[in-house]
């Protein structure tokens, strides 16, 4: 199994995502766009830029580091560096768009929701992901999806690479 999306594909998917999101939130009302570190954060930045071009002027930005909220914390190998969560925004009573690169089991999103709960109570939380690869272990579904990849086997990894840190944009499905 080897499904590739190149730079042009990824740009198109993100633009489509931004358009669908824009159709759901009024441009003159505040909204917070919050990405899950690392690639969700980068996607959130790009979505904020695209929403800006569509006339959104009251967009709060934030980044979540969900490491301390993971339910498999004691099972993941040597410690990578924990980074801070950055939410210098009004969380309460404002719609919040949560952004991640790949939705798989749903456990990262559960961790992100628990983390958000410690900061306040958004009026509504919606989830945008670039890739939904199926395989959910929790009752969590996305509201906005770039591309849905059906039935990716568990022993395959969906890698989203973004030029800010990976040198180029692409989505690659490869065996673990």
């Amino acid at each position: 199994m080897h499904t590739d999306y190149d730079e042009a594909d990824v740009r198109r998917l993100i633009e489509q995502l931004a358009s669908t999101i824009a159709a759901s939130f009024p441009a003159d009302r505040p909204i917070n766009v919050v990405g899950i570190r690392t690639r969700g954060e980068l996607l959130a930045h790009r979505l904020v830029e695209l929403l800006g071009l569509k006339g959104y002027g009251k967009v709060g930005r934030g980044t979540l580091d969900i490491t301390l909220y993971r339910d498999d914390l004691s099972e993941i190998g040597p410690r990578p560096l924990v980074k801070p969560t950055q939410l210098a925004i009004q969380v309460d009573d404002v719609p919040l768009l949560l952004v991640d690169d790949v939705l798989f089991t749903g456990r990262s999103i559960r961790a992100a929701l628990n983390l958000l709960n410690d900061f306040g109570r958004p009026s509504v939380i919606r989830l945008a992901v670039l890739v939904d690869r199926g395989g959910r272990e929790l009752p969590i579904q996305p509201d906005f999806v770039g591309v849905k990849l059906a039935d990716v086997p568990k022993d395959y990894r969906v890698n989203v690479r973004l030029k800010e840190i990976d040198g180029g944009d692409e989505i690659v499905v490869e065996k673990r």
Binding site: R79, P80, V82, D118, G120
Partner: protein, 312 residues
């Protein structure tokens, strides 16, 4: 992933054994944990279901409280164990006491003990993580780490700074941990104290040893004043309090000779008017309360790191 963004140690026993990369990793992790203390809910579930025992065989208020709060902020269950009224006062050995504590399903023992090397002994004997909270006059690694963190926060770096550690060096575990940490991070360390409390042998550890504070006060970026530990000092080691203050105290007159922007530190508790005068301790160039704040973040980072590692 590079070597610099991982941590594989199960214990924190000394700064002597940590590499510069490992020290940097703890400081960077602590920076993230400091953010947790700025939230309205100052708690994360990283140690949920884990048990941390504070086993303090010596008196302590700030270190014990700091570890206790750090563990609570990580969601751990925390038990305080003190020697007074325990089986230790009935003659039980440290190892037997610790083994009994561990048998109750403990994940971390934070240990302070009057014997140098006690933390190492426990780490060799027990299966849980051991964090050294001060072993005799040997080391106090979390104090060393919080001092490094506070210096780095103030100057943006540690490398190239000149740091004077002043006072009762011989009895100070803080001085040893600071010395190891500062040297590894590229600072120049000058130890200052009377010959009775600062043997020349400290030069072998890579420090410059001087016996007059006036000789170096104008050249250092950081001056770390140690507490005179009257409870440990033999009378033959110490002049009169007045004489100590005259030669080694950070008095207002002496403070005027410091470099502009000098950073004043003290691990506490302070003997005000003896090693440091109150107007300096409470003044704008004092980092003493910042040290306390940063201590919490550093201890959260340490507890988190040692509990997430299965190796030794």
């Amino acid at each position: 992933m590079t070597q610099t963004d991982t941590w594989t140690r199960k214990h924190l026993l000394t700064l002597e054994e940590l590499s510069a990369d490992e020290i940097r990793f703890v400081l960077d992790t602590a920076h993230s944990f400091k953010e947790v203390s700025t939230r309205s809910v100052k708690k994360v579930p990283a140690l949920r279901g884990k048990v941390v025992v504070n086993a303090f065989f010596e008196d302590s208020t700030r270190t014990r409280t700091s570890f206790e709060l750090a563990a609570q902020r990580l969601g751990a269950d925390v038990i305080a164990f003190t020697e007074k009224g325990s089986s230790v006062s009935k003659g039980e050995t440290l190892v037997d006491t610790a083994r009994n504590i561990e048998a109750m399903g403990v994940d971390v023992i934070v240990c302070r003990h009057q014997a140098a090397g006690s933390a190492q002994v426990l780490a060799r004997t027990l299966g849980c993580s051991i964090v050294n909270a001060g072993d005799g006059a040997h080391e106090h690694p979390t104090q060393g780490l919080l001092d490094l963190y506070t210096i780095r926060e103030r100057f943006g770096r540690i490398e190239g700074l000149k740091v004077a550690i002043v006072g009762d060096i011989a009895n100070s575990r803080v001085a040893r941990s600071d010395l190891w940490g500062l040297k590894k991070m590229g600072a120049e360390v000058i130890l200052v104290g009377p010959p009775t409390l600062l043997p020349k042998s400290f030069e072998k550890l890579g420090a410059r040893v001087v016996h007059s504070l006036d000789e170096v006060i104008g050249e250092v970026d950081v001056v770390n004043m140690l507490r005179v530990q009257f409870e440990r000092i033999k009378s033959s080691q110490f002049p009169t309090v007045r004489e100590f203050t005259r030669f080694f105290g950070l008095t207002w007159d002496r403070f005027q000779k410091c470099k502009p922007g000098v950073f004043v530190m003290h691990p506490g508790p302070m003997n005000r008017g003896i090693e440091i005068s109150s107007d300096i301790a409470d003044g704008p160039q004092s980092g003493i309360l910042k040290q306390v704040t940063n201590g919490l973040a550093v201890r959260m980072a340490v507890l988190y790191l040692v509990t997430q590692t299965s190796g030794r």
